[in-house]
Amino acid sequence: MRARVFVTLKPSVFDPQGTTVAEALHTLGYAAVKDVRQGKYFELDIDAQTADEARRLAAEAADKLLANPVIESYRIEVDSETRGAGAAAQAGAVR
């Protein structure tokens, strides 16, 4: 199973890097880009039987290590592509 973990700064937290990227895009002429928030993306290959189990494990990893709850929140998507299954069993969990 593959779990994708997206870690982003909480909306209330200022993101100096995202702001700098947004300014660079404006310099390039992309005035339509109003704001940029930069985050982190993790792919976890997990030995699990079900998508639920993989998601639970990924959430635990995010709580303990991947995200800092003081400043960050995360979102998890799970699919079973590493096992060759067809349609990805998607499951979103936001915290």
Binding site: S12, F14, D15, P16, T20, L66, V70
Partner: protein
């Protein structure tokens, strides 16, 4: 007294701290590798500056799981004096020994310069030899020193007098211009509720001799010696814990 300087892979101010404690102050000092599980009977712990584990993931995020950290926590819980400098401060935040987190500097630059910090309170083991309001000229060197905590937490820190160092002008004024990284309320350093754990982004150990441009940082380490020898910190519990 005896200082223990914890060494993580990527620490790079461990020798500065050791030198200041051992050669400038003439105290006993030892290095403690992060994989060890004993603090070797030290009276005060220093988590030094640097880039522990390459700052991978987040600053201090991996170092917090080092085998020595449960010992550091035990020592801190027993009211032993613990000082986190720069990356060491970031480790203390990630380990939950101090509240809050660090964001990338407001400037998005690695800030490397001398700054002025004001000593706000002297009832900690690392400011006991300072005057209230004393201004220290000491260097900073960090990319992620933009201190953040939720407004309610910051309010509590201020109310409990836990903000120990603040960035100011050379006249001691707290202004946005004097703030090198965007830290909330110009916070440069703070202490735990028990006041024995102190973290700060500036480097007092790098400003302990006039030969390097300033000796103002000496006051921080002299405070530790004063606090320990006068028995203010650590509490007797630490001796028992050993």
């Amino acid at each position: 007294m005896k200082f223990a300087v914890v060494v993580f892979p990527g620490s790079n101010c461990d020798h500065d701290a050791y030198h200041a404690a051992k050669h400038v102050l003439g105290q006993d000092a030892v290095f403690v590798w992060h994989k060890e599980t004993s603090l070797q009977g030290a009276d005060a712990i220093i988590l030094p500056g640097g880039f522990a584990h390459g700052d991978y993931l987040r600053t201090g995020a991996i170092a917090r799981f080092s085998p020595i950290m449960p010992e550091v926590k035990r020592f801190a819980d027993a009211r032993g004096p613990v000082l986190g400098i720069c990356n060491g401060f970031q480790v203390l935040l990630e380990a939950g020994l101090l509240p809050g987190a660090m964001l990338r500097n407001r400037s998005v630059k690695f800030q490397c310069e001398h700054v002025i910090v004001k000593v706000e309170h002297t009832d900690t083991p690392f400011t006991s030899a300072c005057r209230p309001g004393q201004l220290l000229r000491i260097p900073i060197a960090h990319g992620e020193g933009n201190y953040y905590a939720e407004p309610a937490v910051v309010e509590r820190l201020e109310k409990n007098r836990q903000v120990i160092f603040r960035y100011t002008t050379s006249e001691g004024a707290v202004t946005p211009e004097a703030n090198p990284n965007g830290s909330v309320n110009n916070i440069a350093g703070l202490c735990s509720e028990n006041r024995n754990v102190v973290g700060l982004m500036p480097h007092p150990e790098r400003a302990c001799e006039l030969a390097v441009g300033s000796a103002d940082g000496l006051a921080v380490l002299v405070s530790a010696v004063k606090s320990v020898t006068e028995g203010i910190f650590p509490a007797k519990a630490v001796a028992v814990a050993r």
